[in-house]
Every structure is written in structure tokens, then in C-alpha cells.
Amino acid sequence: MKPVAIVYAGVGGQGVLTASSIVGRAALLSNMNVVMSEVHGMAQRGGIVVTEMKIGRARGPLVGNGEADIIVGFEPVEAYRVLHKAKKGSYVIVNTEPIIPTTVSLEGEEYPDVNTLLENMKDLKVVALEATELARKVGNVIAMNIVMLGALTKIPVFPIKKETVIEAIKRTINPKYHEINLRAFELGYEAANL
């Protein structure tokens, strides 16, 4: 099988690593090969976090330009920043709630209008959702990453079954928080308008 390449982009503290690890674990549960690259180090909160993943026959852990089948953007500007990894027709899931970087206050940078960002994603299959707001609805903004996983699971080219992703969530997250996260997952799944 030609590998499915997924790029996850967001801001430190949004649970990007946890979400992508859950998908990796779900791939293992589905008996699929998976290889994923993550970066640790400085900026545990507030800096850029990108993880790259290939599910299927692949050895290289990085996704080349134009190779990504799906981009999961946990933050609108960070989604836009990795669009060169996409190709025409790729799916781009975007959480529309911005996290405004300090450079806007301190260095006079401007945060672009989110609708303008979305409108500029031409020739891509954009799935926009208010993931942070949905997470607030289930009672904790931290569950936003799982809302995004719900949306990802609905994407047609995403190769893993919904129940397997749910199983991987259960195996990763503290049982105390299963209920909240599974509700977040379902809300994301429903909110993904394809």
C-alpha cells in the first residue's frame, strides 16, 4: 500500500504529540506499519510543534514537500505554515481558533484574518471546525486535540477504523478522563463537514 502521509502542526501545549502518538498506536493495533517523527526540546508551551507520519510501506520518518495526504492544523496559522507539504486535493483539517504569538504584541507582527487564511487554501479539501470551542463544550479545552482526532478519523483517505482510534485513545489517556475525551472525539467526528 502506498503510504498515507499526515502532518500535524500546532502550538506547544495543544497536545499535538499526544494526538499523533494515538494515531500511531491505532496503526499498530490495525497491523499497519507506521513511522513518525517528532521534535522535543525547547518550547514545551507556546512554540511551533510539528509531527510527521507515514502509515504503510515507508521507512523515512519525514514527509517531503507535496507528499502529505492530510494536514491536521491545530491552529490556523500553523496549518498554513506547513501547506507546502500538501499537494492539490490534500485534506486540511483546521481548528479555526487562533493562538496569537507574542511577536504580535512585541514586534508589531500581524495575525492574519482566519477567514482569509481559509479562503486562500484553494484546491485543497479544507475541513474547518471550531475545535477549541467544542472542547470547551465538553468541559476542558485540553481535549481539543481529541476533537481534531475525531475529525481526522472521518477523512476518507485516513486508513484506520474509527473504533480502533477510540481504542488507542483509551489505551493512551488516563481512564479518569475517558468520558470527556470520547465525547470530544465524537463532537469532532460530527463537526467534520466533508
Partner: protein
């Protein structure tokens, strides 16, 4: 517990592991008894994993005070007949180098593997030195894995090599092997030896000049036998049977080449090297004789390429060899599929189809790494900045050090003017205080203080330097993922341990001006900074407050959470919180100031500095 599965004896079990976790599993399968490290990215999760399981596994494990100590601790374990693992980031090997070099001479009894985690592209490092050269200079065998599975399998092989030839093995990894997750299949757990016994042999283990002369000869003889071993090692393998192109590759670069050979259906074969020093000359020579041209693909320096070209010259093999030395591949930064495609297009004169999406250009605000919301260092830097402003000191020289707090370099604090390496904040502060008449302030983290700052501070006292030295004591080794250090009451096995009191230690040197402050108490901290800046001689400030991430994790576990929010009616947009404290959770939108509830950690420092009481606590149920 999270890592209990690592101790599973279920052969064939598959797990989705980080390369660094796979190293630990490999070490368990090799039956190690002993491990030591100083944390450093990209090697840190090896230690975090061991920290979680060492006690249960019956392994002695310590976070040593620095890499040199870690190297010495494990060298002694190996001399006592135990299998020992020592690991650190690439620049850690610079710190350990003195002990490392001598260990090659005296050799090993129990297997000794030294993991060096190199960081191409410098994701979290000050340079991108290629530590394969350390194998050449020390004459140690060198092993380079490419994947999470190989991390595990090759560690076991490395122990076999080490014990067979009584020599330590350098196990060189890079970021994209350490921080790659892949599926790893478990083998059987190894048998441990328990306690060792040191049989004396001073001619071998006391490296006097007269002994060293003999030991160097012995080392060179071992190297000859090791080359034979490399020629037949299963860590070196040939894949495919194409005739036109022969790729010679190692490490993470192999993955990209193997994927591309598949994708493009190239008429090629790959010599995938995992045992790269001594260079397996016979194997490479025979390989070169079966193809029309050679392409060497490796990250960073042209080590394999140099050896290959040398060999071709000596063996009079006249086929084209391409790599970095003729300009096709870059010598800097990590590789990715596009770097390899670019080079192959030029070498082979082909066009590789790439459907890169070209998004319309929109100016995006940069998002550099920042101090986390709630970080106590932010409060300390804010206080230092205010103290300097109030005293009208404009040209103070700030020496910084290695840790999260280096991010104090950013606006508005700009608290970093000079930085070389671990512990350099103090030596360079002494130098600036002697070489100039400017005020000098040095900043060092608690773990870095124990690692390399103490000799420098003794130097400062003895040589009567005039400086302010600030220990940012956040009660952990934060940047690398919260490992304990000698200042904490816990050791690498999770046992209770005596802690070193930084204030007492500094006083013990003879320094009189030593003050410990809570940086969240901003007013008091500014006051102490002003006193210190007026003090003649050495003034040491210990800014002591636990890392916000640890505090956050504890409160989340307890289900206790609150954030702060701005009462817009009271806020005058003075900018003290957004532009001067500059917390990453505080942002401006349409002229108003807000706090992002997804980022705020409830430290409340912004509320304490707000002159209008416009920032209030909001408890989350």
C-alpha cells in the same frame, strides 16, 4: 505504570516506540546492570525511560552531575565486569572526552556502550558536530542505527562487540532516529549479572605513561581485528541487486534512499552500513566492483565518503563517486526526502515529479520558542530588567547558559549577550568583569550549576571578580523533560537521596552576598536585584521556584485548575503585562488585552504587577 511493558518477557510483542525507548529495550535484552547519563536532547528520553523502570528491572541508574562523571561511573562498572550504558547528547561527549579517550586505552571487561545523540539541524543544540569523528580519534568501534527497531537490535550487537574485543563501543544516533517512533518487536530479556567484582590489574587500569605506551599498541591491534569483524558483521548489509548505482549510506539517510529507490524503481543496490568504524574496506571494495557508480548518502560530514574515496584510490577502482565532496549533497542540516531528491536530480540528470502545493503568500507572524506561561524565569527576568532600568544601567553584559532560560534572550527582556556551552555563564562573567568596566550579570539554571558552574564560581571568588550571578533554581532539569539533579531529594532510581543546598554550597566557597528569593514575589526580587547590582564583588541570587509545568501537572492530576482573566472595564491597556512581562498567554486584539484560557497556567504574576487590579482569578470547575 507507563513503562512497565518495557520489562515484558513476551518475545515477539510489538510496541510503537520512540527510538530512545527502543535503546532501553535493547539494553534490557542485552542484560545491562548499570547506566549513567547527564540529560540532553535528543538523548533525554533514554534516561526518562530508565528512570521509570530501572529500580524494577534491578539496574543501577544515575543522573550524574555531568557527562564526564557519567562516563567515569560507567567505566568503573564495566571494569568490574558489568554491562554498562552511558548516554548523552553530542556535545556531552565533549565534556566526557577526557575520560572517554582513556577508556578506549584501558578497555572494558563488562560490555560498555556509549550513546552519542547528534543533533543535525540543531533543533536544540549549539552546534551540529559529527561525533563519528570521536570514533576515529579514540579508535573505538562505531555503530550507527537507522530506525527504532535497529536502535534496539544494534545495542545488543554493540555489547557483543564490546565484550569480544574488550573495548567500549560508540553508538552514534541522530535526532531523527532518537525521536522517531516506529514499530519495535521485542526479543528475549537478557540475563543480568548483579554485582560485579573488580579484579585488580594496575598495568591495564592505571594509565601511567609507561602503561599507556603498551595500551596504545594493544588498541591498534584490536582495531585490526575489528575491521575483520566489520567486514562480516550483520550490521552491514546489501539490499537490492541493481547494477547501475551503488548507494553507500548509514543512519537516518538510509531510510530516505531506500524509499526513493522503491518509488523511482532505480537500477540500484544499497550498501547499508551500521558498523562504520573501523571502515569495512573489503566489503566496500567488493561492493564498488559490482556497480557503475557510487553515491554516498550520509548526514553532516563526509565520513563514509572520505573513507570510500580513499579506498578507491588505494584499490585503483576507477568509477564515479558522488557525495558531498563534489558538491551534490549538503554538509549541513538534517536531510529530508527533498534534499535527497534535489541531489539525485542533479547527479542522475532526471526530473523527480513533485506536486508541491504552492499556497498564496500571506505574511504569517513568527512563533519563536518562548518561556512557558507561568515560567518562574519570566518573573526573574522581568525583575532584573526593572532593576536595571531603575538603576539606569544600560550596558550591563548578560552571560547566559544552557537551558530553557536562554530564551530570556528575546524581547522585551534581552537577557543573553554571550553563551558558549554548559556552565560558561560564570567563566565568561569573570572574563567580562576583568576585561571591562561594565556591570556583569550571569544566569545559570540549577542543573547546569551542578554540571559545570561550580569550578567557575570558585575561580570568580578566588580572583576577586565583580559580578552578579543568578541561579535560576526551578527545582528540576526542565528543558530536557524534568530529570532530577543533585539539588533534589531524589536519585535516578526514584529513591530518597541527600540534596545539595545551593545557598550553603555558595557560602562554603566563601561568598558572603547570597540571597534566595521567590521570583513570583516580583517586588522583593526587584529589590534584591538592586542591592546585588550595587554590591562590590560577587553577589549571588538564587531565584527559587518550581518549574511551572511540574506545578501544572500536579494540579491537573488533583483536578484543581484556575486561570486569570482581564476585567476589560478596569484595564487601561498600559501594556505592563502584555509588553513588559510579556507572558505567552497574554495577547492583544483590536486594541484590547486578553488572556488565552488554553495557555494561562494561573501563576498570577501578571495580576501582582497590574497597577489597576484589572486581572482576576477565575476558578475552573
Amino acid at each position: 505504570m507507563k513503562y512497565d511493558f518495557m520489562l515484558s518477557d513476551e518475545v515477539g510483542r510489538k510496541e510503537f516506540l520512540l527510538g530512545n525507548e527502543a535503546i532501553v529495550r535493547g539494553a534490557l535484552e542485552a542484560g545491562i546492570d548499570f547506566a549513567s547519563t547527564y540529560p540532553g536532547t535528543p538523548s533525554s528520553e533514554i534516561g526518562n525511560t530508565l528512570f521509570a523502570i530501572a529500580k524494577k528491572a534491578g539496574i543501577y541508574f544515575e543522573f550524574s552531575s555531568n557527562e564526564k562523571v557519567a562516563m567515569e561511573v560507567s567505566a568503573a562498572a564495566s571494569a568490574s565486569g558489568l554491562r554498562a550504558l552511558v548516554f548523552f547528547k553530542h556535545v556531552g561527549l565533549n565534556v566526557a572526552a577526557d575520560a572517554f579517550m582513556s577508556t578506549a586505552y584501558v578497555g572494558t571487561r563488562g560490555g560498555l556502550v556509549i550513546v552519542s545523540a547528534d543533533d543535525p539541524s540543531m533543533h536544540s543544540s549549539q552546534n551540529e558536530q559529527d561525533n563519528r569523528y570521536y570514533a576515529l580519534i579514540s579508535r573505538m568501534p562505531l555503530v550507527e542505527p537507522s530506525s527504532a527497531q535497529e536502535m534496539k537490535d544494534y545495542i545488543k550487537e554493540a555489547y557483543e562487540i564490546s565484550e569480544k574485543y574488550e573495548i567500549p563501543v560508540l553508538f552514534r544516533t541522530t535526532t531523527r532516529v532518537n525521536h522517531v517512533r516506529g514499530i519495535v518487536e521485542f526479543g528475549p530479556l537478557g540475563k543480568k549479572r548483579g554485582k560485579g567484582y573488580f579484579k585488580k590489574d594496575p598495568k591495564r587500569f592505571v594509565i601511567l605513561p609507561s602503561h599507556a605506551r603498551v595500551l596504545h599498541k594493544v588498541l591498534l591491534e584490536k582495531l585490526e581485528k575489528l575491521e575483520e569483524e566489520a567486514n562480516r558483521s550483520k550490521l552491514n548489509r546489501i539490499e537490492g541487486n541493481g547494477k547501475k548505482i551503488g548507494f553507500i549510506t548509514s543512519g537516518v539517510a538510509y531510510n530516505y534512499i531506500a524509499d526513493l529507490v522503491d518509488e523511482l524503481n532505480l537500477d540500484a543496490k544499497i550498501l547499508k552500513l551500521g558498523f562504520t568504524h573501523p571502515f569495512p574496506r573489503k566489503l566496500v571494495r567488493d561492493f564498488m566492483n559490482t556497480v557503475e557508480k557510487i553515491i554516498v548518502v550520509e548526514e553532516l560530514d563526509p565520513y563514509l565518503e572520505t573513507q570510500t574515496r580513499l579506498l578507491a584510490q588505494m584499490e585503483k577502482i576507477d568509477i564515479p563517486i558522488h557525495g558531498k565532496m563534489d558538491g551534490y549533497f549538503p554538509r549541513k542540516y538534517e536531510y529530508n526526502p527533498d534534499v535527497i531528491k534535489d541531489a539525485l536530480e542533479k547527479i542522475l540528470g532526471i526530473k523527480i515529479e513533485r506536486n508541491t502545493y504552492d499556497p498564496p503568500e500571506i505574511s504569517l507572524p513568527p512563533r519563536p520558542p518562548v518561556l512557558c506561561p507561568g515560567c518562574p524565569h519570566r518573573a526573574t527576568y522581568y525583575a532584573a530588567m526593572m532593576a536595571l532600568k531603575q538603576l539606569k544601567i544600560k550596558d550591563a553584559i548578560i552571560t547566559s547558559d544552557i537551558g530553557c532560560y536562554t530564551l530570556g534572550i528575546q524581547k522585551p527582556y534581552e537577557m543573553a549577550d554571550y553563551l558558549l556551552c554548559m556552565g560558561s555563564s560564570i567563566g565568561t562573567a569573570v572574563g567580562f568583569s576583568k576585561a571591562t568596566n561594565q556591570k556583569v550579570i550571569g544566569f545559570v539554571g540549577d542543573s547546569t550549576f551542578f554540571h559545570a558552574a561550580i569550578p567557575g564560581l570558585i575561580d570568580a571568588y578566588h580572583n576577586k571578580a565583580n559580578l552578579v550571578y543568578v541561579v535560576l533554581d526551578n527545582r528540576t532539569t526542565a528543558m530536557t523533560g524534568h530529570q532530577p539533579h543533585p539539588g533534589l531529594p531524589m536519585d535516578g532510581l526514584g529513591n530518597e537521596a541527600p540534596s545539595v543546598d545551593i545557598e550553603k554550597l555558595v557560602r562554603g566557597i566563601g561568598i558572603d552576598f547570597v540571597k534566595t528569593v521567590d521570583p513570583y514575589d516580583v517586588k522583593e526580587t526587584i529589590k534584591v536585584f538592586k542591592e546585588a547590582l550595587k554590591h562590590e564583588g560577587i553577589a549571588v541570587i538564587i531565584a527559587k521556584k518550581e518549574c511551572a509545568l511540574l506545578w501544572d501537572a500536579r494540579r491537573r492530576k488533583q483536578g484543581v485548575w484556575w486561570v486569570y482573566e482581564i476585567v476589560q472595564d478596569k484595564c487601561t491597556q498600559c501594556g505592563l503585562c502584555s509588553d513588559w512581562l510579556a507572558c505567552a498567554a497574554i495577547y492583544k486584539k483590536n486594541g484590547k488585552i486578553y488572556i488565552n484560557d488554553a495557555l494561562c497556567d494561573g501563576c498570577g504574576v501578571c495580576a501582582t504587577i497590574c497597577p489597576f487590579d484589572a486581572i482576576v482569578k477565575k476558578v475552573i470547575r
